[in-house]
Amino acid sequence: MRWIPLVILSYLLVLCQATLVKAITFTGLAIGPVGPEILAIAAVFLALSVNSLADAMIAGWVLGLGLDLAAYGGPAMPTVIGPMSLAYAIGSAGVFTVREAFFRSRPLPQILLALIFCVFSHLLWVTLQYLRAGGQTGGYGRLLFQALAISAYTAVLMPVGYRLLSRIRGWLMVPAVGRSRR
């Protein structure tokens, strides 16, 4: 794994997530805004592509930290930094662990893995932030529905993101030698 390109990619993705992604975000819904999470797409891609579990977890952690720094609002205002980087690291480890059971280049497994990754990370984030707020803020149920909708939207875009990120795989990673191992 090349770490400097990863940091640059993380910065660009956080920037896009906070700006350009809002153009394809659905607003005015009863559950709140629903938009894709491109950092999750990148995290799943990296977990499917890297050579070691440590690389997957570190990459996930870096992406999650970027998201934590750019996500101010939520159940607690301001939200605390830490839950998303934790969730991404654990989620990336999970994807890396089970990836041998899937055809990584097929869209359906990519969608499934992205969905599970997003649902896990968002539920963990919402719950930890809600607990941090002392459980005083209402709307926990709405936030859960919103998390599911965001996860579904992200999962649908996963194959597109995978193809785009595959083009810069050589920039991000040192090629594996021999067959990939668990």
Binding site: L15, A18, L20, K22, A70, A71, G73, G82, P83
Partner: protein, 313 residues
């Protein structure tokens, strides 16, 4: 690495705010470009309906331009109506509604919340520009009455709308919490709009007890309410008595004795009134914000001056 995340979580919101404030400035320059593209897309998309499929591009542009002009004129007329009501109630007010000394710090939205759970925006004005946490933020639409002579450092905010408050302020950036965020809450005034030909009865208390009267300019008292963001794009006002007969089209305004924004400007318009399930004779009022939050780009941070300035300590 995982321990670092856990430590950040345990250190709480104060540490997180400081850490964000230290790094947010790196997002400001490029974020400005991104938000410019997004808000112009959202602003143009909002003015085109399905019926525009049969119109030429020139016709569409003409309709968009006319729509903007009409919206601005409507805002000016509505504001003038509010001003006339304010003049008749001046003896009951603690502060002047229209003209208060303030500094308007122009700012631009350069980023939104990365996750959709919060309704916040990152703006490119921070402590170095004078923007402090708690300051009110309005849209930056100026329509001035040309007959008025404006004082040197006072702007006429006749068509401005409240968009939120600053929650945090770093050196070169600040975090704006929109009125639609679930954590936003404000005391406000609900103005019932008297329309020609509309008969609306309200319960008015007098010397001889309470009686129903037709709503008119004489008995149209501003209602003191608590408005809260719903986290999904609007505001909610709970427990409004049915005797006030609030209807869609009524307006939510800021209170003129708010120390952070001692002026009466629009917050939003009532779009739905629903009977409260748990409380008979009360309704829940849903308000749509006046400002288009999706296309929000240019804003003013309002810093009161003179006798309206906050005292320290």
């Amino acid at each position: 690495m995982l321990a670092g995340s856990a430590l950040c979580y345990l250190l709480g919101a104060g540490f997180s705010s400081r850490l964000r404030g230290a790094v947010e400035f790196v997002f400001v320059p490029l974020g400005d470009l991104g938000m410019g593209a997004v808000t112009s897309t959202k602003a143009n998309a909002g003015g085109i309906s399905a019926a525009a499929e049969n119109l030429t591009p020139a016709q569409i542009q003409r309709l968009i331009d006319e729509n903007r002009l009409l919206a601005a004129q409507l805002n000016a007329v509505a504001q003038r109506h509010v001003e006339l009501l304010a003049q008749s109630r001046r003896m009951d007010e603690l502060y002047d509604r229209l003209d208060f000394e303030c500094r308007l710090i122009p700012a631009r939205v350069v980023g939104a919340d990365a996750l959709g759970y919060g309704q916040t925006r990152l703006i490119n004005a921070g402590r170095s520009a004078g923007a402090a946490a708690g300051s009110a933020v309005t849209t930056r639409e100026l329509l001035t009455d040309r007959a008025k002579a404006l004082p040197t450092d006072l702007a006429a905010i006749t068509s401005a709308a409240l968009v939120g408050r600053l929650a945090d302020s770093a050196a070169f950036s600040a975090r704006l919490v929109l009125v639609t965020d679930a954590s936003f809450s404000t005391r406000a005034h609900l103005l019932r709009v008297v329309k020609a030909g509309e008969a609306r009865k309200i319960l008015v208390s007098g010397d001889r007890g309470a009686a129903y009267e037709l709503l008119s300019s004489e008995n149209n008292r501003l209602l003191d309410v608590q408005a809260v963001g719903d986290g999904a794009g609007g505001l909610v006002i709970q427990h409004v008595s049915t005797q006030h007969n609030v209807r869609p089209g009524d307006r939510l305004l800021t209170r003129p004795n708010d120390p952070l924004l001692p002026a009466q400007i629009m917050i939003g318009t009532v779009h739905e009134v629903i009977e409260a399930e748990d409380k008979p004779h009360f309704v829940t009022v849903y308000v749509k914000p006046e400002a288009d939050m999706d296309a929000l780009r240019e804003v003013y941070v309002v810093v009161p001056l003179g006798r309206w300035a906050r005292t320290k300590g």
